[in-house]
C-alpha cells in the first residue's frame, strides 16, 4: 500500500499547494489536512509541515502553532516513529514543539530559529548541503553523502540560535543535518543568508525520524524553476529540490 502523507495547514500556512504537489510528484498519496480536520491525522503515515506564517508568527515564529491541537497528533506520531518533515515555518513549529533537536522535553525548545542577523525577511536562492551520514536520518538516507540541494531561503526568522551548551549538543549528537553552501558545494559565511549558528540550514532529532529545514527545496523542484540551468527535459518534470522529497518517499517505502 502507498504511504499516506498529510500536508498540514495551520491558520496562516501558505505553502501547502507546492508542498502537496511535489509530494504527489514523487509518488506519495498526499492529502492537504486543514486545522478543522485535525482529528483525521492519526490515519496518516507521515506528516509534512509546510511553510507560511502560522498564526502570523505572532509572539515568536512557531510558538503558537506548536500548541495547536494538530501538533498533539504530530508529536504523538513522531514519538511512535512516524516521519515528520518541517519546511521553513514548519521547521520553526517542529523546533518550538521540541521535536528537533529533541534534546529537551516536548514543547520545551532547546534552540530557536529566530530573527535573521539582518533583522529582516530574506528571500534568496541557496543550497542545502548534507553534513550527516545520509543514513543518520531516515528522510536523508537515500541521498548521497554531502548531497547538495537547491532551494529558496525565504524567512525573517531562520537563524539558529541556542546557548553554547545546546549548540554543542547539536554538533556532538549529530543533529546538524544540513548547512548552507554555494552552488559548487563550498561552504563559507557568505553562503549563509541569515547568520545561522553553525551555518545551520536543517536539524534532525536523535532518532532520525524528524527533519526540520529552513529553506524551501519545493520552490526549486521542477525544471521551469531554474530556466538558466534548463535541460532538454520536460519543463514540468521535477528536478533540483525534488531530491529531498524523493528521498522522503523512499524512506516511507522502506517503513
Amino acid at each position: 500500500m502507498r504511504a499516506k502523507v498529510a500536508v498540514l495547514v495551520f491558520p496562516g500556512t501558505n505553502s501547502e499547494i507546492e508542498t502537496w504537489r511535489i509530494c504527489r510528484d514523487v509518488g506519495l498519496d498526499t492529502h492537504v489536512v486543514h486545522w478543522s480536520q485535525a482529528a483525521s491525522l492519526p490515519n496518516y503515515d507521515a506528516y509534512v509541515l509546510p511553510g507560511g506564517f502560522a498564526y502570523e508568527d505572532r509572539v515568536r515564529a512557531g510558538a503558537i502553532p506548536a500548541h495547536d491541537p494538530m501538533m498533539d497528533y504530530v508529536i504523538e506520531g513522531a514519538q511512535s516513529g512516524k516521519l515528520v518533515l518541517g519546511v521553513c515555518n514548519g521547521a520553526q513549529i517542529v523546533l518550538e514543539a521540541g521535536l528537533v533537536p529533541g534534546t529537551g522535553a516536548v514543547r520545551k525548545p532547546t534552540a530557536a530559529f529566530t530573527r535573521n542577523a539582518a533583522a529582516h525577511f530574506v528571500c534568496k536562492h541557496v543550497y542545502l548541503k548534507l553534513t550527516i551520514p545520509p543514513e543518520r536520518c531516515a528522510i536523508t538516507a537515500a541521498l548521497s553523502p554531502h548531497a547538495l540541494i537547491p532551494a529558496w531561503a525565504a524567512h525573517g526568522e531562520g537563524r539558529l540560535a541556542a546557548t553554547d551548551e545546546h549548540l554543542r549538543e547539536i554538533t556532538d549528537g549529530g543533529h546538524l543535518a544540513f548547512v548552507y553552501a554555494h552552488a559548487d558545494g563550498s561552504v563559507d559565511e557568505r553562503a549563509v543568508p541569515n547568520g545561522s549558528a553553525l551555518g545551520c540550514a536543517g536539524l534532525t532529532n536523535r532518532e532520525g525520524n524528524v527533519l526540520a529545514i529552513m529553506p524551501h527545496p519545493e520552490r526549486d523542484a521542477w525544471n521551469y524553476n531554474h530556466p538558466d540551468r534548463r535541460q532538454t527535459d520536460n519543463i514540468l518534470a521535477p528536478s533540483g529540490g525534488v531530491m529531498l522529497f524523493a528521498a522522503f518517499a523512499q524512506a516511507l517505502e522502506r517503513l
Binding site: F53, W152, G185, L236
Partner: protein, 772 residues
C-alpha cells in the same frame, strides 16, 4: 432620521457645515442631491454621496478621459468595467484561461503610516483580483519616494516602512512578488507613491462578476471578514460617541489596520467557496469592500445588476457597540468582501467561513453574516434600529457624474523646446559609468526586493533581479507562462508628461517582450496632483493621450486601472506627474523564456534599437547637471519592428540572454547582465564593448549612445547564430554588434578595463544604506 440641512442654507453656510462634518462634497453637489431627493439628505445619505461621488469611486474628472484608451482586442476577456480586467492567456484541456490584473494606489495612507498604508494597499489589490473568482498568483509594486539621504528624514522613514509593509503583507498571504520598480526624487518628498499590481488566474467559465446576477431579487447580501470599525472614517463624527470598556481594543482612528493573517484564511476559505459554487454551477455576485465601505459595495453590486438593495446595519458585525450608522455604512475597515447569494446556498457558505475556516477564532469579531437582500425596486435603503436612515434612487447614488475642468490643449503642453540642441561635453565614459551605476534610479534594488517572498507557490520561473520582467508558470501541469513588468519614469515626466506616459507603455511592453513573452495587455495607475489646478489636470489629460497613442500603436489593450489625484502637500507641492504602467505577457511554453544573465564567453552582443541624441530625463544627464533637455520622440514603426524581430529571434532560439535597455542606458544594462555571474559558485564572465562610433550611427554622440535611455534591447547570441540573427533583421530594424562576452570578469569599454567586481560593489551598495 437625523438630517443634513441643505435647503435654506446659504452657500457659505453650507460649505462651512460640510467642512465641519468632514464632507468633501461641493455646494453644487449637495444642492443637486437635495433637489433629486426632494428633501434634505440624512446624515447617512450625505456621507454616502460623499464617498460615492469622490474621485476615487466616481472618476468624475477622469472617466471620460479613460474612455479614450483602447480597450478591445483578441486578448481581452474582460475590459475595464469591474475591479479588475482579464486577459486571455491560452487554452489548457479545452478551457480558456485568463490572467486577471488589477492596479491600485495607496499613496496617502502610506505617507502617514507607511507600514500599515502599504500593507493595506497590497490587501486591497488582492481582494480586487479575488472577487473576480480568481486565484491570486503574483504581485508587483511600483514605488516612488522622496530624497532618502538624510537618515532622520520622514522620507527615509516612509521608504523603509513602505517596503516593510509590502513584505509583511505579501509574504504572509503567500503571493510571490515578481516585479516592481522604485524611483527617488524630490518631487515625492511630501507624497510618496505606493502602487500595487496583483495578478490572478481563472478559467473563462469561472469568472464571477461584481453584479447581482439576473433573477437575484430577494437573494442574500452576505458580508465576510473583519468586524467593522471606524477606520478610514474621519474622527470628527465619531468623537461624540462614548465607548464601552470592552471596546477599548477596537480601532478608533483613521488608520486602516492590515491583518494578513485573517486575509490568508479568508482567501483560502473563499477558494473553497468558489469550488463549492462551481460544483453546483451557481452564478452569484462577489465584490470587495473599498472606498464607501458596506454602502458603496452593496450599492454598486446591486445597481450593476439592475437591482436595488436593502441592508440592515444592525446585522453588521461591528467591533464596538453604539457605532453611528454613517460609520458602519461607509467606514473603510480592511479585509472585507461581499457576496450576493441565493438563499439556499447561504447556510453552506456561512458554514465554510465560520466553521470550516473558523473566522471568528482567527480575528476578533470576524465572520460571514447576512446583512441584507437584493430588491427589485431600484432604491438603496439602509435600516438602523427602528429607523430607515437612507433611502435613495440607487442609480443616482452610483451613476456616473462628471466634472468639467479647464485643460490646456496638447499644442500648448509644457515641454522643453525640442529644437534646443542638447550639449554633452567630453566625458570619460568609463568614469561616468561608475557614477551612473551608483545613481539612485539605476543602482541595485536587491536591498528592497530581498525582503519580498519571490518564490512562494513554487511557480516562479524568473524571479526579481534576473531579467527585466518576472515570469511565473501558474497553471499546474501546463507550460503556459505569465510575465509581468512595470514602468514609468518620473525624470522623463518632468520634461514631458505626454511622451513619458507613452514611454512608460513602450518600456513595460519591451520588458515583457525581453523575457520571450507576447504582450497581452496593460493596466495603469495615474498618479497626479490636484485636477482643479489647470497645470496638473492638463498633465493628466496629456498623459492619458500618451498612453492611448502608445497602446494603440503597439496593439496592447488597456483592461483596468486606477486614478489617484490630489497627490500634493498642504503647501501645494505636487508630485511629478506619474503615469505608471503594468504590462502582462503570455508565454506559450516557459521552456523558451529568456533570462538576462550572460551565458557563455565568446558570445556576440547586439543592440537592437537606435541611440538618439535627445537625452531628456536620462540619469546621466542629471549627473552632468544637464536637466531640461527634450525627451526623444518615439518612432513606433521601428519600435514595433524591433519587438517583432526580438520575438522571432527568441522563438528561433537565437537569444542566449537579453535585457531591455533601461535606466542608465546600454552600458549599465550590459553590466547588470554580467553581475549575476559574479556570484560565488558561478563562472564569472566579462564584457568587451566596441567603441560607440562603431555602432551608434551617424551624428550620435558617444556619451548619448552609452547612457541614453531611449530603450531597445541588448541581446547575447552565439557567434554562429550572429549571422542568422542579422539575416532575419527586416526593414526598420537596426541591429548593431556592440561587443562580446569574455571570460575574464573585466568590462572593457572606451579604452578602459573596469573590474566588474568593483562595478558590482558600487552598483549594489547605495540602497543598503536605506535598507540595511
Amino acid at each position: 432620521m437625523r438630517s443634513f440641512p441643505v435647503n435654506g442654507l446659504s452657500d457659505d453656510e453650507l460649505r462651512a457645515q460640510a467642512a465641519r462634518t468632514g464632507l468633501a462634497l461641493r455646494v453644487d453637489e449637495l444642492r443637486r442631491i437635495a433637489e433629486r431627493l426632494g428633501r434634505d439628505p440624512s446624515i447617512v445619505e450625505a456621507h454616502a454621496f460623499d464617498a460615492q461621488w469622490s474621485e476615487h469611486c466616481s472618476y468624475k474628472s477622469s472617466r471620460h478621459l479613460l474612455r479614450k484608451l483602447p480597450t478591445e482586442g483578441p486578448t481581452v476577456m474582460q475590459g475595464p468595467a469591474e475591479d479588475a480586467g482579464i486577459l486571455h492567456l491560452g487554452e489548457v484541456h479545452g478551457s480558456r484561461w485568463g490572467v486577471v490584473i488589477a492596479h491600485e494606489s495607496h499613496n496617502h495612507p502610506s505617507q502617514v503610516v507607511p507600514f500599515e498604508g502599504a500593507a493595506t494597499g497590497v490587501g486591497g489589490i488582492v481582494r480586487d483580483v479575488l472577487c473576480m473568482g480568481a486565484e491570486v498568483i503574483a504581485i508587483a509594486d511600483p514605488l516612488r519616494f522622496g530624497r532618502v539621504e538624510d537618515p532622520e528624514s520622514h522620507q527615509r522613514y516612509v521608504a523603509q516602512g513602505v517596503v516593510d509593509g509590502i513584505a509583511a503583507y505579501g509574504n504572509a498571504i503567500g503571493i510571490p512578488n515578481i516585479a516592481g520598480d522604485a524611483y527617488f526624487d524630490e518631487r515625492f518628498d511630501d507624497n510618496c507613491l505606493v502602487n500595487v499590481v496583483a495578478l490572478g488566474l481563472i478559467r473563462e467559465q469561472d469568472i464571477i462578476h461584481s453584479a447581482a446576477p439576473p433573477g437575484s431579487e430577494g437573494w442574500d447580501i452576505v458580508l465576510v471578514g473583519k468586524a467593522t470599525d471606524t477606520s478610514g472614517f474621519g474622527g470628527a463624527a465619531f468623537s461624540s460617541v462614548t465607548l464601552d470598556e470592552a471596546d477599548e481594543d477596537a480601532n478608533k482612528g483613521a488608520v486602516q489596520v492590515p491583518d494578513p493573517f485573517l486575509k490568508n484564511v479568508i482567501m483560502r476559505a473563499t477558494y473553497r467557496v468558489f469550488e463549492y459554487l462551481r460544483e453546483r454551477k451557481i452564478t452569484v455576485g462577489f465584490k470587495d469592500l473599498g472606498a464607501g465601505g458596506i454602502m458603496g459595495c452593496s450599492a454598486e453590486i446591486c445597481s450593476s445588476g439592475g437591482y436595488g438593495a436593502i441592508v440592515d446595519l444592525d446585522d453588521v458585525n461591528t467591533a464596538m457597540k453604539n457605532m453611528p450608522p454613517e460609520v458602519i455604512a461607509v467606514g473603510e475597515t480592511q479585509e472585507r468582501l461581499c457576496w450576493v447569494l441565493p438563499g439556499e446556498v447561504t447556510p453552506d457558505v456561512l458554514r465554510i467561513y465560520n466553521e470550516e475556516f473558523s473566522l471568528p477564532q482567527i480575528a476578533r469579531g470576524a465572520c460571514a453574516t447576512v446583512i441584507g437582500a437584493v430588491q427589485g425596486e431600484k432604491r438603496y435603503v439602509l435600516r438602523h434600529g427602528d429607523e430607515i436612515v437612507m433611502d435613495v434612487p440607487i442609480d443616482f447614488l452610483t451613476g456616473s457624474i462628471r466634472d468639467e475642468l479647464p485643460v490646456r490643449p496638447m499644442s500648448e503642453r509644457k515641454v522643453t523646446d525640442p529644437a534646443r540642441r542638447y550639449v554633452v561635453g567630453e566625458h570619460d565614459a568609463a568614469q561616468l559609468l561608475v557614477r551612473v551605476l551608483e545613481h539612485r534610479d539605476v543602482c541595485s534594488r536587491e536591498p528592497m526586493y530581498v525582503r519580498y517572498d519571490g518564490a512562494v507557490r513554487g511557480t516562479t520561473v524568473i524571479p526579481r533581479g534576473y531579467a527585466s520582467a518576472g515570469v511565473i508558470a501558474p497553471i499546474m501541469g501546463s507550460p503556459l507562462g505569465v510575465a509581468l513588468a512595470v514602468a514609468g519614469n518620473p525624470r522623463m515626466s518632468k520634461a514631458d508628461p505626454y511622451l513619458a506616459a507613452a514611454y512608460a507603455v513602450l518600456e513595460a511592453v519591451r520588458k515583457v517582450v525581453s523575457v520571450g513573452a507576447r504582450p497581452l495587455g496593460l493596466t495603469d495607475c495615474l498618479n497626479f496632483g490636484n485636477p482643479q489646478n489647470i497645470e496638473h489636470y492638463s498633465e493628466l489629460v496629456h498623459a492619458i493621450d500618451g498612453i492611448g497613442a502608445a497602446a494603440r500603436e503597439l496593439g496592447t489593450p488597456y483592461v483596468s486601472g486606477n486614478v489617484s489625484l490630489y497627490n500634493e502637500s498642504k503647501t501645494g507641492n505636487a508630485i511629478s506627474a506619474s503615469p505608471i504602467i503594468a504590462c502582462v505577457g503570455g508565454i506559450d511554453d516557459v521552456s523558451n523564456v529568456v533570462t538576462a544573465t550572460l551565458k557563455h564567453a565568446g558570445s556576440a552582443l547586439f543592440l537592437l534599437g537606435r541611440p538618439q541624441n535627445a537625452v531628456g530625463g536620462a540619469a546621466f544627464a542629471e549627473l552632468l547637471e544637464q536637466t531640461g533637455g527634450p525627451v526623444p520622440p518615439i518612432d513606433y514603426e521601428r519600435a514595433i519592428a524591433e519587438i517583432a524581430f526580438f520575438r522571432a529571434a527568441a522563438d528561433a532560439g537565437f537569444i542566449r540572454s537579453a535585457r531591455s535597455v533601461g535606466n542608465g542606458g546600454v552600458l549599465a544594462t550590459l553590466a547588470q547582465m554580467a553581475f549575476p555571474t559574479l556570484q560565488p559558485g558561478h563562472k564569472p564572465l566579462g564584457l568587451n564593448v566596441l567603441p560607440a562610433r562603431a555602432w551608434a550611427g551617424d551624428g550620435v554622440g558617444e556619451i548619448e549612445a552609452y547612457f541614453g535611455e531611449c530603450g531597445g534591447f541588448v541581446i547575447e547570441a552565439s557567434g554562429e547564430d550572429a549571422q542568422a540573427l542579422a539575416s532575419i533583421a527586416a526593414e526598420h530594424v537596426v541591429l548593431m554588434r556592440i561587443g562580446e562576452v569574455t571570460s575574464n570578469c573585466v568590462m572593457r569599454v572606451a579604452g578602459a578595463a573596469l573590474d566588474l567586481r568593483t562595478l558590482y560593489d558600487r552598483w549594489s551598495k547605495p540602497l543598503t544604506e536605506v535598507y540595511p
